[in-house]
């Protein structure tokens, strides 16, 4: 049995009377694409935020790469190789596309207590930045300000920034949100290309996308993981069918 890259063990988190996560457990294996789905309000974003460290669980554990990171701050997890993209696009509008990616690379290439040399001419940053630009197909837009990108391109940039640090695990929080059909196809290709190289936890509303990309899927209902399995198993699972009452799987 392969050691999982990420183990989520019995997370509980309440906001007042609302229990956003209850006994939440699942794991992500090295190299797999793991889908996380659930109806609106199932606690998907709350779950992601506990993995990245923006929220801390009341109880339970998050183990990443063999280390208990439950109490680690956000930046430390990121440096360990746990990267995320945001549901609401969070690129730096006043920087160019290149500078956005370079800023993501910079976090992983030496320290940033450098006060004198021009960051644009930093040899350590140029090559990895170009590589990430190529991966997400934004080379042509490289010199533009991020504010001038279309919504779809911003989503690509968002993923590019998450990839730039060469993470072990990539948390994609609804990467297709607000994208047209063309963009969805393109981003699906990109995610498929990364398969096997890094592990991906894909939180997505669009179930066709999840079922076509994921190796395994975990279904979240009321903060609890009610089922984990291959897309085929999940489609036929009676509990899941009940949760998605009326929707065709």
């Amino acid at each position: 049995m392969i050691e999982p890259l990420l183990q989520v063990v019995g997370l509980n988190l309440s906001f007042g009377a609302i229990q956003a996560s209850r006994h939440l457990s699942f794991d992500v294996r090295p190299g797999e694409i793991h889908g996380l789905i659930g109806p609106n309000g199932a606690g998907k974003t709350t779950a992601i935020n506990q993995l990245t460290g923006e929220l801390h669980p009341d109880s339970g554990q998050v183990i990443f790469d063999g280390i208990d990171i439950t109490r680690f701050p956000v930046h430390k997890r990121a440096l360990m190789g746990l990267a995320r993209s945001f549901q609401i696009t969070a690129v730096f509008d006043h920087l160019t596309v290149t500078q956005n990616i370079a800023l993501a690379v910079q976090a992983h290439k030496g320290h940033s207590y450098r006060f004198w040399s021009n960051a644009d001419k930093d040899a350590q940053l140029i090559e990895p930045t170009l590589e990430a630009l190529r991966m997400v197909g934004l080379e042509a837009r490289a010199p533009e300000f991020a504010s001038s990108l279309s919504h779809g391109e911003k989503r690509q940039l968002e993923v590019g920034m998450a990839l730039a640090g060469k993470p072990k695990l990539l948390l994609l929080d609804e990467p297709m949100a607000g994208m047209g059909p063309g963009g969805t196809v393109e981003l699906s290709h990109l995610i498929r290309d990364m398969k096997g190289q890094i592990s991906i936890l894909l939180v997505e509303h669009d179930m066709d996308v999840v079922f076509s990309l994921a190796d395994r899927v975990t279904v979240l209902v009321y903060g609890e993981a009610i089922a984990t399995g291959t897309p085929a198993e999940i489609r036929t699972n009676p509990l899941v069918r009940e949760a998605y009452l009326g929707e065709s799987l």
Binding site: T52, E54, P73, V74, H75, K76, A78, L79, A83, R84, F86, A90, F92, D93, H94, L95, Q99, A102, L103, A104, Q106, A107, H108, S112, Y113, R114, F115, W116, S117, N118, A119, D120, D122, M161, G165
Partner: protein
């Protein structure tokens, strides 16, 4: 726009520098030598405004306590000079600290102590943001203000007069011309260093944090440390300006660090253009000149200045510098 943005910016800066360099001989030739000391004051306020721009414009930290570091720098120079003149040491225990009138000692020490104050205040204040940050920086600054008011030995509320300006090798600071060029040299150097800083790796991190701190943390940056270092660097800059103002007026008082002074420095940055470095220089110049000119007509000059500021803030979002230099950065 006849001249493209970048060369327009360079032209503007070169003209500005030339004008400042030739100001002393020209004003002396026209018998208006009081302009030299007025412009020394302007250059010093420009320096403190540029240092505030580092945290306000680049770091997005709206501090309403920046004058505290300005005042601390001034008091360091004032207190050292006082002890040197009186001939009694400042401290005898745990080690001996004598007063000094040497600029080579006093000015770096003013920067260092202001930086230390900024480090401590920043350490607590930067745990908050937005409105809370504004209030807590203001509260700290007022604490230091009242502390200085309570310093009976150093004149309390009335302040402390210096016997003479500091001494620097090769310069006679009691000569207003020499002093002016010292201020100009320091301002140009500070602008050069700040310009390197904001384009460095560190500067990138600071600007990214201003736009989206949460995103920066997710990328792997411990944003608090970067903000604290930036805050400390800005504090040192304000301390440097404070050391100069103490020398310029040969007088220090708690008024230097009152919160209204912080507000005035903030207005200089906003007026000139946040996040532009050169804008605050322009802002300091315009604000102090307007004050000087309007005050000669009426003692209620604030009534005239107020609407001007409102118009500027409403219609020139990138400040005077944005109007003159055109494009961003």
């Amino acid at each position: 726009m006849l001249i493209p943005g970048n060369s327009r910016k360079h032209l503007l800066l070169s003209l500005g520098l030339v004008a400042l360099v030739i100001l002393p001989p020209v004003s002396s030739a026209f018998g208006e030598s009081y302009l030299i000391s007025l412009f020394s004051r302007i250059l010093i306020y420009a320096l403190v405004a540029v240092s505030l721009d580092l945290i306000l414009g680049y770091g997005g930290m709206v501090s309403l306590g920046h004058a505290a570091f300005f005042g601390v720098g001034a008091y360091v120079v004032g207190i050292l000079a006082f002890h040197s003149y009186e001939g009694d040491p400042l401290l005898t225990w745990p080690f001996l600290v004598e007063g000094t009138e040497s600029g080579l000692m006093a000015i770096p020490l003013a920067m260092l102590i202001s930086a230390f104050f900024a480090l401590v205040i920043g350490f607590f204040s930067l745990r908050t943001s937005g409105m809370h940050f504004i209030m807590i920086t203001l509260a700290f600054a007022q604490m230091i203000y009242y502390f200085c008011v309570s310093l009976e030995t150093y004149g309390g509320d009335d302040g402390l007069s210096l016997y003479a300006r500091n001494q620097l090798p090769g310069l006679d600071l009691s000569n207003d011309g020499h002093f002016y060029y010292l201020c100009l040299g320091i301002l140009v150097l500070y602008l050069f260093v700040s310009n390197r800083l904001v384009n460095s790796r560190f500067g990138r991190v600071i600007q990214g944090t201003r736009e989206n701190e949460r995103r920066m943390q997710a990328l792997g940056y411990a944003t608090f440390r970067y903000k604290l270092i930036c805050f400390t660097i800005a504090g040192a800059g304000a301390g440097l300006a404070g050391a100069l103002i103490a020398n310029q007026t040969e007088f220090v008082s708690p008024g230097l660090m009152h919160w209204t002074r912080s507000g005035e420095i903030l207005v200089m940055v906003l007026l000139g253009g946040m996040g532009t470095l050169f804008g605050p220089v322009l802002g300091a110049m315009v604000l102090l000149l307007l004050e000087e000119i309007l005050a000669s007509y009426t003692e209620h000059w604030m009534v005239l200045l107020g609407p001007f500021l409102v118009i500027m803030v409403l219609f020139a979002k990138r400040g005077l510098y944005g109007l003159l230099a055109g494009q961003r950065h």
